[in-house]
Subunit: 214 residues, 2 copies
């Protein structure tokens, strides 16, 4: 071929090649997943179309089914397909204890310690004024109603020991105590700044046993 | 509450709380996305159900639509919704030149240099014997047929300058040359070990102009 150093060339960002629209649509839709940028979304779209069409179809069905079937438990606010979730429906549970967690994953971690046999309330988040997440977004009215059912005698706050989690616990504690409820907090056996999901079950177990009144 | 240091407790990995099955199904299906582990998949599932059900529904539709509509161009092997893609159907293109790339993203990068007006063949991968990816997986028969149409006079190999890309270029070059075709390779203006997608357009433009016979 030899050098063509004398020839002029130009380049730019304009392109004449376009992705098929349904592939573009897929890449854009994949960006709705948390933490997925445009480059990752495009790679995922290519990967699925090239190597895993069965996976793409399966994921499509899973999304449609979850959107249709999943809603929040009328009592504890966690995800469920029923009106009342399995945990809230369990007659073996101690209905006098209500443990407040940020997420279903946190609830699962506490369950794994096998130290707690009460019921739960899942906030599905934490207060974060800077992000515009207020009491309504963590379903505080629902929690107040739930805790005030006349059966619950103690609310155990098991939000994360992060700044937001601590602030959320403080806010909930003040709200519930003015309504005459006994409120406790997991002991600080959980490392400060730690997120429950990543703490070992033994530490959480100790923190549960050492919970203190607030 | 006080200390309960004397009380025994036990913990383990068994749990009595289960995610609703359609949420579990969704988290498992999300793991079909490349680079997504169980923890990320669960977070994504929670995020979608909690904060972006519209996004979940949209992604579900996008996946179903892409699986239904996207297939490979009969000529260049890229993704398309038509029998023959827009690029291959463009009468303004120089049909004597055929540029071989690994992915549609690489083709897009070359297009953006505006230095090439020929046609393309998209391998949708590269040879990688250790991963069990052989000539059949990069559609070599289809490429041989395409390059041997009697109109193509030169095949420009623009696979990546990684080990796999170079090996792929070498293999294709040997295959096409035994069939009497003229084969060239992008000049080594592209950094050794570099992937086209991440190289600036100017470098690729120079490499295109300096392509050499192999
Ligand atoms: Zn419930
Ligand atoms: Zn084509």
């Amino acid at each position: 071929m030899g050098r063509r150093g004398g020839r002029r060339f130009s380049y730019g960002t304009r392109s004449t090649v376009k992705s098929p629209s349904s592939l573009e649509f897929l890449a854009e839709a994949l960006r709705r997943l948390p933490g997925i940028g445009p480059k990752s979304a495009q790679r995922m779209a290519y990967h699925l179309m090239q190597h895993d069409r069965d996976g793409a179809a399966l994921l499509g069905r899973a999304l449609a089914q979850a959107v249709e079937r999943i809603h929040h438990c009328a009592l504890c606010n966690t995800f469920t397909e029923a009106e009342i979730c399995e945990t809230c429906s369990d007659p073996e549970r101690d209905a006098e204890l209500l443990c407040v967690v940020e997420t279903p994953a946190d609830q699962l971690m506490i369950e794994q310690t096998l130290t707690y046999k009460g019921l739960y309330f899942v906030l599905m988040g934490h207060l974060s004024p800077l992000d515009g997440i207020g009491p309504k977004d963590i379903h505080l009215d629902k929690l107040v109603n739930r805790a005030g059912d006349g059966i619950v005698t103690e609310v155990v706050l098991a939000t994360n020991f992060t700044n937001e989690g601590e602030a959320t616990a403080h806010y909930i504690s003040e709200t519930l105590k003015t309504r005459g409820l006994k409120v406790s907090r997991l002991a600080r056996g959980v490392p400060v700044g730690g997120e429950l999901e990543y703490v070992d079950a033994g530490t959480i177990a100790r923190a549960m046993l050492d919970r203190r009144a607030t």
